[in-house]
């Protein structure tokens, strides 16, 4: 008996030393993440060693207080290192040992049954609050493992916990002050743990239900009023916003996102969601603005890490690892944001800004600095496509020399990888077979070929912008020569494939192929027309109209060439058609370079009308 008490004392002392050391060191803000990691490892192993000593002897009521405290400390350390399985195992074992003291045997290892029985057995004793604090940790483990049903099952006990937390813990505090040496110290105040878990649970549950399509507004509103770190409050606002956005209330959603940003300026996902909403509202200027701010925020070093140091030992991010939450909170990398910003600028006729963004993007990709390149999921298009988009932007900004340099790079890196010819099967038959992987190499060949062809096309555009028509013809011809290398296996397959199924990658590629054909033939036709080789011009423009019937400038120039060839009636008929459909604005569905850029020589429509009127009376 004497030995037992002295052991108890020495173990309590050991625990208190460890815990106070832990609290002390945790207070010092250590900049070194690795050192923190090491320290946490050491603490958990120290506590665990002590616990093994204590649990080496059969459980006894006298030692239960100490044992439960050490279990609590050990589990907090485990949880801090994301070792949830170890923590849960330890908790289950402890519950079983508790029941051994009480002489109960539930005959099951189901944690919820175990905990219920354990709680019942200690009701009214001094151990009650210790058991409650352990249950709290179990709650945290369930939350971290996204086992929300288990948390809900314990809703009753949890509410009990909340209700009692004030009184019981205050009581505990008073007692601690009385005889400080004999009470085992805890590394983390359980009340703070309860607060943290409450809001985290609200957030995770909200995210889960949101993805299931429930309305969770009220719960989230309630959670946003609770005392918690700013970052977590911001999350509740963010989730409310997402909920409203699902309910088709974009303006109210924007309000919520703004509140989230006001609460925690580092909540970049709110900014991103706002940009998405603006995009849906087709408010392009606001969208561009949001993307610009988002990009500059992502470049700040502090935002890349979720620095939620609400509680140093247990970070809230430990409990916020639910799948649906992380998909709601995910933000694309800075480079992806920069790319969409550049694209939006170019499409919404802010070309010079777009060019700057593209150049920044290319510079970032070329730089030695590797930050942000290796995002887990990259939404960036392939590099050659980026180069070509940038080239198209430069062309639109009337910087043909820069555009040509970029195109030269693309051509240099792809030209000797091009296949001799590309054989395409009927996409309908392929879809039935459902084998996308088999022809992957051929597709790569097609993709590379399209890159090179687009580069030649852009170079042709550049030369025509420079009014070097001979060079333009040469480059358009190179582009056409490449494009005719693509063959179709099925002769019955229509070349005039509409862009209807854009979702299929092959469909987009084919569409781009047809567009490029139409554009390059049109470009060559226009160039021929400029150097008065009208016959060739007429042929090319005719072919271009076949390949890409929607091409507006090709049709106008077709009329112009007919006019010059003195086939004025045909020309008039051709022009008549073009009035109805003006040159379409750029869209995001297709690469910019595969659309009409209005970079070449333009026909003044007023002049055309005048010509028509001249013709009219005759």
């Amino acid at each position: 008996m004497i030995q037992s008490t002295s052991l108890l004392e020495s173990w309590t002392q050991e625990n208190n030393q460890l815990a106070s050391g832990c609290k002390l060191q945790d207070g010092q803000n250590e900049p070194n993440r690795e050192h923190n990691l090491f320290r946490q490892r050491r603490w958990s192993s120290d506590f665990h060693r002590l616990l093994r000593k204590i649990q080496g002897i059969p459980p006894h009521l006298d030692r239960a207080q100490l044992e439960l405290s050490v279990v609590y400390n050990t589990c907090v350390c485990f949880t801090a290192q994301s070792q949830f399985d170890e923590a849960e195992l330890l908790l289950t074992q402890t519950a079983q040992r508790l029941l051994q003291i009480a002489g109960d045997d539930p005959g099951t290892s189901d944690p919820s049954v175990l905990w219920r029985t354990a709680l019942k057995s200690v009701t009214g004793t001094a151990l009650h609050r210790r058991v409650l604090s352990l249950l709290c940790l179990q709650w945290g483990v369930w939350l971290a493992k996204s086992r929300l049903t288990a948390v809900q099952d314990f809703q009753e006990e949890v509410s009990l916990l909340e209700a009692q937390s004030g009184a019981v813990w205050n009581d505990c505090r008073a007692e601690t002050k009385e005889k400080i040496s004999n009470i085992p110290i805890l590394v983390l105040d359980p009340r703070r743990l309860v607060d943290l878990l409450k809001i985290c649970t609200a957030i995770v549950q909200g995210a889960e239900r949101l993805t299931e399509g429930w309305s969770v507004l009220s719960a989230l509103q309630a959670a946003s009023a609770s005392p918690a770190p700013r970052a977590l409050i911001a999350y509740t606002h963010l989730l409310s916003g997402s909920c409203l956005a699902h309910m088709n209330r974009p303006q109210m959603a924007l309000q919520c996102y703004r509140k989230a940003l006001e609460t925690d300026p580092r909540c970049v996902c709110a900014l991103y969601q706002s940009a998405l909403i603006y995009s849906r509202l087709e408010n392009s200027q606001a969208e561009i603005q949001a993307l610009r701010i988002l990009h500059s925020m992502l470049l700040l070093p502090s935002t890349t890490e979720p620095a939620m140091a609400a509680d140093r030992l247990l970070s809230p991010s430990l409990f916020l690892c639910s799948q649906s939450l992380s998909s709601l909170l995910s933000v694309p990398s800075a480079l992806s944001v920069l790319h969409s910003l550049a694209l939006k600028c170019v499409i919404h006729s802010r070309v010079s800004e777009g060019v700057e963004c593209y150049l920044d993007l290319l510079a970032a990709l070329q730089s030695e600095d590797q930050h942000g390149v290796h995002a887990a999921v990259s939404t960036l298009p392939k590099l050659p496509r980026l180069y070509l988009e940038a080239g198209a932007a430069l062309l639109m900004a009337r910087r043909p020399a820069d555009c040509m340099a970029l195109c030269d790079e693309v051509i240099g890196s792809t030209l000797d990888l091009l296949p001799e010819k590309v054989l395409l099967e009927d996409p309908v038959a392929r879809r039935v077979a459902g084998s996308g992987e088999v022809t992957e190499e051929a597709e790569n060949g097609l993709v590379r070929l399209l890159w090179t062809a687009a580069a030649y096309l852009l170079q042709g555009h550049c030369y025509s912008q420079l009014k070097d028509w001979k060079q333009a013809v040469t480059h358009y011809t190179r582009c056409i020569n490449l494009l005719v290398k693509v063959h179709y296996k099925d002769t019955g397959f229509s070349l005039q494939m509409p862009c209807a199924d854009k979702d299929a990658e092959q469909g987009v590629d084919l569409c781009v192929l047809q567009r490029l054909k139409g554009l390059s033939l049109a470009g060559r036709g226009i160039s021929f027309a400029q150097i008065d080789r009208l016959r060739e011009a007429l042929r090319d423009l005719q072919l271009s109209r076949q390949a890409h019937p929607e091409g507006v400038s090709a049709r106008r120039w077709y009329g112009e060439v007919l006019w010059r060839l003195d086939r004025k009636q045909e020309a008039a008929a051709c022009w008549e058609q073009t009035w109805s459909n003006p040159i379409p604005s750029l869209s995001e569905a297709l690469p910019v370079y595969a659309q009409e850029l209005q970079s070449g020589p333009l026909l003044d429509s007023a002049e055309l009308r005048q010509k028509l009127q001249e013709l009219g009376p005759t």
């Binding site: 050192h35 590797q370 930050h371 290796h374 890196s413 000797d416 091009l418 190499e441 060949g445 890159w451």
Partner: protein
């Protein structure tokens, strides 16, 4: 043909290599070389002054070492993580004091910059530090950003890529290191890199680069990291492409030891036109750009070849690969200058080389043994190639290769050798000498083993070819004696192994003796409770003998007779010089086991004689007296009302005539000699050591005590009886004792001995052996029953009737042997 001789110059000794880490030689800043010998130290050696400058003591065994591009930071990978050391710390600040010795630095966890488990390899590309680790299910390549501002800050994690293991079981070989190298397009010179590319960085021909890694990598001018894994996979990762992942370039199907690049043509201007990977067993793959094929990207050619393995380590310069097999250093010229470069000759030659890979890579021996780590070769302006190597004995060597010239230089060869310094040649001779002595030792030990094996096989044939009845030329004799140790009496058997064969039993043989009580119960597993003794002995020549002693039974133990089985063992692991504990095979299948003869120790052997008359007189020692007194008191007490303990007796009768004939005695008193013979003659190969047998008059009486401490009286009397109306003189041997067990056992023993006696004499006359055999069987049965009864215990009610029945059977037929 050996072209010239290389000179090996020993620079420093680092002691034997450790096993836990990896052995490395890596170039550092300037002329510094970093050396790891498999332990926890990193040595910094200056090649210029040939002195050890600093020693870094790491917290764990070192796996890899790499220096940053600006040559300011040294990264050391241990099992638990990567440590960073500022190179400036290694330079002794207090000038070069003579005799100050190397700086010693203890590196603590303060310097830890990346925590990672099981780091296998390191690489620095620009400002990115790459680690390759093996996790339970995959290989993971992790990228860290090196902190430029403060060296002690941890590196920021940039990204991590993983490649699943092929099969966790196959890849148990965690010790072998992975290879990490970086290649970049040759038209790009990274601005931050030093003028000469660092080790593990190779500029590649742009065409080859594009074909291997695609347009995206070429467009982004991205450095590409190549990983050679122990499972033989060669995978690559372009560093600067968003969303890139680790992909497989080729599989060598054996552990990748080396990845390098070589310049094929002079026009390449410093770019390598060929990638080379070497496998552990000598498989090599050469990757070059070929003609563009029908499909894009198909224009790379993978040429497979092989070199004599195993490849311990390798390095290469422009066109030659140097590799060590552990016993020799070899040099392979990839593009033999005389026959035109393989790259230039077009496809025809390629086809030929592909069909005949042996001709494709023919190594030239450089005659340097025991190299475990090689450093990138340095070529002097004169064309001399210098290699730094670390030998298995921890010796840092500088190996200087002769100036290589064209074919026509062969005639000039001797003249160029004249100028070579004597020291170079001497050291080369020394190196060859060392190699020769290693080989000689191996051959000698092999011969020794063969000789020994021959002897063992001879002996095995000799002993196993004879049938059981033959006397084996190697056999055991035994003798028993009671001895007293620590107040306990025990019966000791002295076993003498005699070698009567013409062969020597050499060191390595073991005499194995198994003692098995015949009448003990079978244990649960069906195995008798035998005791096994092993006596290794060192060499037993022809005619020699060796004596071993072992306890057979203790006093009070009545489980006689005891069978002693002798056999000779020889373990094959003796040849291999391995410990038996670590032997991978089980012991049974790995040894020769030759059974020798079997000895039997029975009740008569175990009989302790005492003087027949009053025991009080024979006062040899006070302790014995006391013992006698106590036992007599006990008897009286136990007996209760009876003044004398019960006596049991059994008789065996043998015709005197028969005895006389068998013992070869003169007509006289056969009874005395019978008793003497019974007690002295070695029966069952075991003799007794006794002082003498006291008899009195015509009826000789022998008193003694059985092993279960019961007093026993043996008498032999000549009696006249009438058998089938014929008067006969017979000798009657009577066994009397207070213990049934003793009576039974002794009766059995006497019968057995008489059986052997008569069998010996059986050649001369008809002997009724069948009767005897029957009687013997019966006696054995009875003995077994008695033993059973006594072991079951007196408490059981069946015991007394059983004993009575046995005793009656004993009394019934005093067997008469004519």
């Amino acid at each position: 043909m050996m072209e010239g001789r290389c000179a090996a110059e020993s620079w420093a000794e680092f002691g034997l290599l450790g096993k836990s880490g990896s052995s490395l030689v890596k170039c550092g800043t300037g002329t510094d070389v970093f050396i790891c010998t498999g332990g926890e130290e990193v040595y910094v050696f200056t090649a210029q002054e040939k002195t050890l400058r600093a020693v870094l003591q790491m917290p764990a065994a070192v796996r890899d070492v790499v220096v940053s591009h600006d040559e300011q930071l040294l990264f050391v990978a241990c099992w638990s993580g990567v440590y960073c050391v500022n190179v400036q710390l290694l330079v002794p600040s207090f000038s070069h004091d003579a005799g100050s010795g190397p700086t010693e630095l203890k590196i603590s966890t303060e310097c830890l910059v990346a925590v990672a488990d099981r780091v296998s390899s390191l690489l620095v590309v620009g400002s990115v530090l790459l680690t390759l680790c093996r996790t339970d299910a995959s290989w993971s390549l992790t990228l860290y950003q090196i902190q430029r501002t403060s060296q002690s800050d941890p590196c920021d994690l940039l990204a991590s890529f993983s490649l699943p293991l092929v099969s966790p079981k196959v890849q148990s070989d965690t010790e072998s290191r992975c290879v990490l190298v970086c290649v970049y397009p040759g038209d790009l010179m990274p601005a931050s890199s030093p003028p000469h590319p660092p080790r593990s960085h190779y500029p590649l021909q742009p065409l080859l680069f594009r074909r291997l890694f695609g347009a995206e990598a070429a467009l982004s001018k991205s450095p590409v990291v190549l990983c050679g894994l122990p499972d033989g996979r060669l995978s690559f990762l372009p560093l600067r492409i968003p969303g890139s992942r680790l992909r497989i370039l080729h599989s060598l199907e054996q552990s990748v030891v080396f990845v390098g690049a070589s310049a094929v043509m002079e026009t390449d201007a410093g770019c390598a036109g060929c990638l080379i990977a070497l496998g552990k067993q000598g498989r090599a793959v050469l990757i070059r750009a070929g003609r563009a094929g029908l499909e894009g990207g198909g224009g790379t050619r993978f040429t497979l070849g092989c070199v004599p393995g195993p490849v311990e380590c390798a390095c290469m310069d422009q066109s030659r690969v140097y590799y060590s097999t552990g016993s020799d250093l070899l040099m392979v010229d990839l593009w033999d200058g005389s026959s035109g470069t393989a790259g230039r000759q077009g496809d025809k030659e390629d086809e030929a080389s592909r069909s005949n890979p042996a001709a494709f890579l023919t190594p030239i021996s450089l005659n340097v043994s025991g190299v475990v780590a090689l450093h990138q070769p340095a070529r002097s302006s004169a064309g001399e190639v210098q290699l730094l190597s670390l030998s298995v004995r921890g010796r840092l060597q500088s190996i200087r290769l002769p100036v290589r010239t064209q074919e026509d230089s062969l005639s000039k060869g001797p003249s160029s050798q004249v100028g070579r310094s004597v020291g170079d040649i001497l050291s080369a001779i020394g190196d060859i000498c060392e190699r020769a002595s290693v080989l000689k030792t191996i051959i000698r030990s092999k011969n020794q083993i063969l000789k020994q094996l021959n002897q063992v096989v001879n002996i095995s044939f000799l002993l196993s070819n004879r049938s059981e009845s033959d006397l084996k030329p190697v056999r055991c004799r035994g003798s028993v004696r009671w001895s007293r140790l620590l107040q306990r009496d025990s019966l000791n058997l002295t076993c003498v192994l005699e070698n009567l064969s013409p062969f020597v039993l050499e060191r390595g043989w073991t005499l194995s003796v198994t003692v098995l009580p015949l009448s003990c119960p079978l244990e649960a597993g069906g195995e008798a409770s035998s005791v096994n003794y092993s006596f290794p002995f060192s060499g037993l020549g022809p005619g020699e003998s060796v004596e071993v002693s072992l306890p057979v039974a203790a006093a009070g133990d009545a489980s006689f007779p005891v069978t002693v089985t002798c056999s000779l063992l020889f373990s094959l692991w003796r040849f291999l010089g391995q410990e038996e504990a670590t032997a991978p095979l089980d012991l049974q299948s790995a040894c020769f086991s030759l059974p020798l003869n079997t000895l039997t120790v029975d009740w008569l052997h175990a009989l302790r004689l005492s003087d027949p008359p009053a025991p009080a007189r024979s006062s040899s020692s006070p302790a014995d007296l006391l013992q006698g007194f106590i036992s007599s008191r006990q008897l009286r007490c136990r007996g209760g009302q009876a003044s004398r303990p019960e006596e049991y007796s059994a008789r065996v009768r043998v015709s005197s005539e028969l005895l006389r004939d068998a013992l070869g005695l003169a007509p006289g008193s056969p009874r005395v000699s019978l008793l003497e013979w019974l007690l002295s003659e070695g029966c069952g190969g075991v003799k007794m050591e006794r002082k003498g047998i006291k008899t009195d008059g015509s009826s000789s009486v022998i008193c003694g005590s059985a092993p279960d401490n019961a007093t026993v009286k043996l008498t032999a009397e000549e009696v006249n009886v009438e058998e089938k109306t014929k008067p006969l003189v017979i000798v009657e041997v009577q066994v009397k004792s207070s213990s049934v067990a003793a009576v039974c056992g002794l009766h059995h023993a006497v019968l057995r001995r008489i059986q052997t006696l008569l069998q010996k004499a059986g050649s001369s006359r008809m002997v009724p052996t069948t009767d005897l055999r029957l009687a013997l069987q019966q006696a054995e049965e009875q003995r077994g029953q008695v033993w059973e009864a006594s072991s079951v215990g007196v408490s059981s009610g069946q015991t007394p009737p059983l004993l009575l029945r046995v005793y009656q059977q004993l009394r019934d037929g005093p067997l008469l042997i004519l």
